[in-house]
Subunit: 337 residues, 4 copies
Amino acid sequence: MIIVMKPRAKQDSILRIKNIIESHGLDAHISTGKQVTIIGVVGDKSKLQDLNLEIYEDVEKIVAVTESYKLANKKFHPDPSVVTVGNVKIGGGNFVIFSGPCAVESKDQLLATAHAIKKAGAHILRGGAYKPRTSPYSFQGLEEEGLKFMKEARDETGLPVVCEVTSLNAIEAAIKYVDMLQIGARNMQNFYLLKEAGKTGLPVLLKRGLSATIDEWLNAAEYIIAEGNPNVVLCERGIRTFETATRNTLDISAIPVIKEKSHLPIIVDPSHATGVRAYVKPLAKGALATGADGLMIETHPNPSCALSDGPQSLTFEQFENLTNELKPIADLIDRKL
Amino acid sequence: MIIVMKPRAKQDSILRIKNIIESHGLDAHISTGKQVTIIGVVGDKSKLQDLNLEIYEDVEKIVAVTESYKLANKKFHPDPSVVTVGNVKIGGGNFVIFSGPCAVESKDQLLATAHAIKKAGAHILRGGAYKPRTSPYSFQGLEEEGLKFMKEARDETGLPVVCEVTSLNAIEAAIKYVDMLQIGARNMQNFYLLKEAGKTGLPVLLKRGLSATIDEWLNAAEYIIAEGNPNVVLCERGIRTFETATRNTLDISAIPVIKEKSHLPIIVDPSHATGVRAYVKPLAKGALATGADGLMIETHPNPSCALSDGPQSLTFEQFENLTNELKPIADLIDRKL
Amino acid sequence: MIIVMKPRAKQDSILRIKNIIESHGLDAHISTGKQVTIIGVVGDKSKLQDLNLEIYEDVEKIVAVTESYKLANKKFHPDPSVVTVGNVKIGGGNFVIFSGPCAVESKDQLLATAHAIKKAGAHILRGGAYKPRTSPYSFQGLEEEGLKFMKEARDETGLPVVCEVTSLNAIEAAIKYVDMLQIGARNMQNFYLLKEAGKTGLPVLLKRGLSATIDEWLNAAEYIIAEGNPNVVLCERGIRTFETATRNTLDISAIPVIKEKSHLPIIVDPSHATGVRAYVKPLAKGALATGADGLMIETHPNPSCALSDGPQSLTFEQFENLTNELKPIADLIDRKL
Amino acid sequence: MIIVMKPRAKQDSILRIKNIIESHGLDAHISTGKQVTIIGVVGDKSKLQDLNLEIYEDVEKIVAVTESYKLANKKFHPDPSVVTVGNVKIGGGNFVIFSGPCAVESKDQLLATAHAIKKAGAHILRGGAYKPRTSPYSFQGLEEEGLKFMKEARDETGLPVVCEVTSLNAIEAAIKYVDMLQIGARNMQNFYLLKEAGKTGLPVLLKRGLSATIDEWLNAAEYIIAEGNPNVVLCERGIRTFETATRNTLDISAIPVIKEKSHLPIIVDPSHATGVRAYVKPLAKGALATGADGLMIETHPNPSCALSDGPQSLTFEQFENLTNELKPIADLIDRKL
């Protein structure tokens, strides 16, 4: 941590800061410049949390030097993690495709989808049983009944299943039926939910919040891992910007940034990122070529009848066409697909 | 709802849309322009939810005409609401000041603050017992013990108290001790929590999400009201933008926008919006003059020792100085303070 | 400037950076922490511009300690500046109201407006003769003919006049007719234009760019002042965010931030910030109470016929009503209006 | 265009709007819904520009149905355009790589770069002679001398050259030396400059503004084409968001959006989008796989000595390595590289 003092800071102010630092068992290194004095703090960072040095006289600003997440940090865990979901390995050179409907609507819809995506090469079945919807008057999900259909789909196809959880109740129900929990964008900083998901020990798919920085995202992962659960997969699904041609703006740079800062696998969801079916295929190919560890693609037997997010869902034929185009690119860049 | 067709849309495509609309018991009005055809949909909006017309051939885009929130909508409830918290009325020409520490740290800290802000003219005591923190290694709150201190502060001073809740557990504890529940920015779209808060019947202070549109914010309020609980107060606390000189960007325009779209009271939190103590006073005065129904101001007996958000907290002296400067402005614009 | 090295940076890498710094005649102060080493650079900042130290091995990041603008910086010019436009003084406790139509459309329109706003208490007449419009098919302004009308309006009413300039040609024409040049939001980083405006010596009203940080804005002012022209007035007119209820988001926090960082006066334009007539009055009052040095308010004899931005223009009656409500607030906070 | 009336709009208000529309020679189609009335406007759109219907009583909002750009619009020009720069064709299945230094610093630097990038497979040499820099104290470019070096580099290598222009003066100089003009992000809405660039007839590389929507970007292209110059190539270079891990956020979705809305070629600049050398290669591959028509990649003989943007420049070896990895991906997706 570095404390930058104001120009012409009084010598007293500088000494006061130095004393506070040292009284916490840390070292203070003072550099006196022509215009400003800076104080470097050396020692155990945990003692610095909540020091509030910004508040003292003549302090201009505080600059953090190290990230606050540790367990999600590549600096302390240089090898890429591999997260196992059922019989599927995510990370470590694999390219894993999650697919399925935004919302589970019926057993028929889900089973038809599960078979179709398996045939087309998907590895994990997704489906929402607890739907966070902007309006209370929109379809909210089948809840536990939907989870049961998910389990049935897994039993029939062998595909592991993932479902979003939005409360402790939902977690308690989901652990009976699914292989992986999903924390959605709107709950990325629902820290209570993160801890409860962490405690289950199940792998967790952690979507990036609509306006979350990458640093906050990795801190949210840290909440899960700090519960003793290292099985976290990150999912970039678009951030909120001023652009309205797409529902969100897919932050594709998050792929190399995460690869540099963390050991966790990262997948990309072009369906939610754009909200437009025609943009899903080009962005899926782009995400693969940029180095993502997988994709999440929405599919539906009849997108025009979907109860949620129909306009962005692919038909089974479109999905199979997509996976066929992904394979040769994956080969080229050494991703197992 | 309006469906805009693509230029040169086939007649078949137009008729298909017309048929879908009419098969749902709605009317379709077709306007054929030189370049494009548009179809107006007339009838019960609830039947249109989840129709997914965007997906059909030759459809260019769908334009919503009416808002999805009803109970929070001024169109259906033209008179401003007044929300009662203990003996305090929010809305209807009153100007209500919430104050207190970001986090409850000890009984002494809280009681000292409660007495000081009461003396300075505050109406409601705020204090966090469940703290959502970006990093799992930051102070997370005293939880139920903190709630007990809140109740004690109320009993001593007569000030109603409000506390943030972050889970169903926290709600169940809080209803035993506090007068009003707060839903924080990170949980604004935690729909499960909104419903549970609604069910308590207690007044709810609903902070705007970091990247929530005003439309989403009013839909979040709708979740609470739809549970039979009309006692919602909105709190603007800054949105996330590219600007880094302040922690967030206070969207002061939200005041007149909310006044036009909704009947709910709106207060402003300049402490969290800026993160900088020196900016709190000017923005508090600006919010009052713009027409807010109140303020939330962080105070602390010793900001430099605060366990959370010290740099933005006012000392008691600064707070009293602020309320003194607010009074004559309130008089001028007919706000009872 | 501070260089933060990567954890486990090699000793060689640290020494290489130290050598580069010293070879430029600067001092390097090394602080060796448990996790990272930081290097403080002390000396003449101008030698550091363009050093590109980020690129060397084991360098994590570079942290700027001082702002790059000097002449616009309060640190080096602590007293607030007062800018004189004709017989009007901006800054120093005055509250100055600019008003007039978005676009000059005819002599009659402009003269009627000039007389009406003068009567209502405005100090400076604004009017656009060169209009930057998103589409080439929108009205682009009367150009030099519009400037002549501006001059006539000044001669008739005594109000100083300001007009936006969008090219060197426009500057060369404008200096013959107007008292102050305006650089619009879209040209805030048109550095060529800034320099040319600086060279004229005329006062310059510098609007903030749609996505400009406050730091970039003050650097743009620096371009003008560096040409020997200290007569710069800043104008906050809303920034671009995800919110769509208003055309832009008025960043009212910019007022106290500018007051802390710079000595230049700052005015606020609620008309362009919101794009909605009904929001202009509440935000005008808010800006005054927050500490702005003035306002820019669009007015038009017949807003529904305005060739540009009619929906945000006030009628003369609405404008007079606004200035009447501003006066008592100005008195309260010691602004001369 | 569609006019949405307020709920319970008076019949008079509706008729007033109808009359205004019809008095402009247009047709008004009224649809009367249960909650609101909407009015569809049919006829020549150019007559509607600047009607300001928002301002009339009982009008809720105006919804645009068609885009304001025509010449850049795919609807009116369905076949993709191919833009010729020297002997290089951009668009139509080609994949074109622009490369070179951010700023031209010396003849030696530029010639060394030109030879190296040609050898590595680049098609067009870029180099800045007029540099828009945030601070007036940063290196501003060699101006005409730099242009001469560009011409020399072309004469030696046969590579066509492109240079940013920032003023009419710069355009007048550049047309003597270069094959293509670049309009930079900060000047994307410098409409005067767009028109002047259009008039030269030279191909124009139009970078997207830092906070420009895709709609505004295509309107900016319209300014150039409306001068009779259809030779426009778009360049996505990152937009401004709240994320700070990268300098900007590369909006990769802009590729499929532009492909749907326009016939103009689009290239991607991952160097400026991220500001970080290590992220350039993954994003370059991603942009190609997503369907871009080309790339702009910064290279420098010695990035650590670059006078501008060194941290994002590739060495020649890194650049050659990149082009080698791009080729097989281009083959796969039918791009000629």
